[in-house]
């Protein structure tokens, strides 16, 4: 990731690029502010309470960066996959803010946020825990200039995922909470697998802002009112239970 340091600024100074990023797809939520560079990020490692904490966190982020809500000229969200409830919190916030303020909405895969935040270059497989023995996973080739998708986001059993990666001749580094949870399964199949530590596998809002900076068109949402996040998997009432 190219370093994008915030420059010190005074109140009232014009901020041509002032963005707000929100990521809530996993228990590790985050809020970040960009003012011609990453200016602030707060990470919230919480269970169940993004809906109660995220707005105060945004208030705090704006206050710390002396930003008025009207200064924000782009809203960037993590699009999932992840917790259904969590994904919808960021999506609702982004859509609501974007439509109310008439500013662009950008949405990037939360798995892509994991991949670029890992700091790794080359092929990165981002994984978050999807429960019921599965992970949400996607693979990306990450360079200084941007990213290329090698495997689209999906819900996988780890053994099936690794088989698919072998079939595609993709040999990635593994990052994300899913890789930590299923470390033994991964190394049991690929003894030489590199699994990054937990702190390098977070789908952070700062990573979403970096993506907005280097790949704006990848995340641009043309019609915020019609946009839906990426759920990948749905829970449905079984057909044979009624």
């Amino acid at each position: 990731m190219k370093a994008t340091e915030a420059k010190p600024r005074g109140p009232g100074e014009d901020h041509a690029e002032t963005w707000l990023g929100v990521e809530t797809s996993t228990p590790t939520g985050s809020v970040a502010v960009w003012k011609n560079g990453l200016a602030f990020e707060q990470i919230l490692r919480i269970q169940k309470t993004h809906s109660e904490r995220i707005l105060p966190a945004i208030d705090h982020a704006l206050a710390m960066t002396e930003t008025s809500p009207s200064d924000v000229n782009a809203f960037i969200v993590g699009a999932g996959p992840g917790s259904f409830t969590g994904v919808r919190i960021a999506a609702s916030l982004g859509k609501g803010w974007s439509m109310a303020r008439g500013i662009p909405l950008f949405a990037y895969s939360s798995l892509l946020a994991v991949a670029v935040g890992s700091g790794a270059r080359g092929s990165v497989c981002a994984m978050v825990d999807a429960r019921r023995g599965q992970v949400y996973a996607a693979c990306y080739r990450v360079t200084e200039r941007g990213t290329t998708e090698e495997l689209a986001p999906g819900a996988w059993h780890v053994a099936d995922l690794l088989a698919e990666l072998s079939r595609r001749r993709v040999d990635p580094i593994f990052a994300g909470a899913g890789a930590i949870v299923y470390r033994e399964s991964i190394t049991g199949i690929r003894g030489d697998a590199v699994i990054l530590p937990a702190h390098l596998g977070l789908p952070r809002a700062a990573n979403l802002l970096w993506l907005r900076a280097v790949e704006p068109e990848l995340g641009r949402v043309a019609t915020p009112e019609a946009w839906e996040p990426t759920y990948v998997r749905e829970w449905r009432v079984p057909e044979d239970k009624r």
Partner: protein, 149 residues
């Protein structure tokens, strides 16, 4: 455990004891015909866990959530209105599965194998005496130990 014939009062007392004594996480899957007493048991567990507010039926809201003064959340869920193939995501199903509190699930049979592998399966059914119900409970997987009637 059971089947045991319990009066409504005994069912309430059992539920309150569960809410008071059990160490979550606990998923209670309740099955039984309409009017058998699933909601009575669910409300009693809520009361036992210290919920002092009004406890409405979740038949229309699907999920009601309460903060227990014991330091966890109690989720009262009712699948009665869901049809086969209906999405369960709006209930926050994946978050319910991971919640460290108590989940009280009515019409649990409709969730089939989407339920967690550790839970209590409670069945409440009518008996000849209209003042009583036949209640059975089974501990499945690594769920907390059962609470006696």
């Amino acid at each position: 455990m059971g089947p045991e014939k319990l009066s409504e009062k005994q069912l309430e007392e059992w539920g309150e004891r569960i809410g008071r004594e059990v160490e979550p996480p606990l998923w209670i899957a309740m099955a039984g015909p309409l009017g058998a007493g699933k909601s009575v048991l669910a409300r009693s567990v809520c009361r036992g866990a210290g919920v002092s507010s009004y406890i409405p039926s979740p038949s229309f809201t699907l999920v009601q959530r309460y903060a227990s003064p014991r330091g966890f959340l109690v989720h009262h869920v009712d699948l009665f209105r869901l049809q086969p193939g209906d999405p369960m995501d709006p209930l926050g199903w994946d978050d319910l599965l991971a919640d460290p509190g108590i989940v009280l699930l009515e019409w649990a049979d409709r969730a089939g194998d989407l339920q967690p592998s550790s839970r209590w399966d409670v069945t409440i059914d009518y008996v000849e005496d209209p003042e009583q119900r036949a209640v059975k409970v089974a501990k499945v997987g690594a769920a907390p130990e059962l609470v006696e009637w």
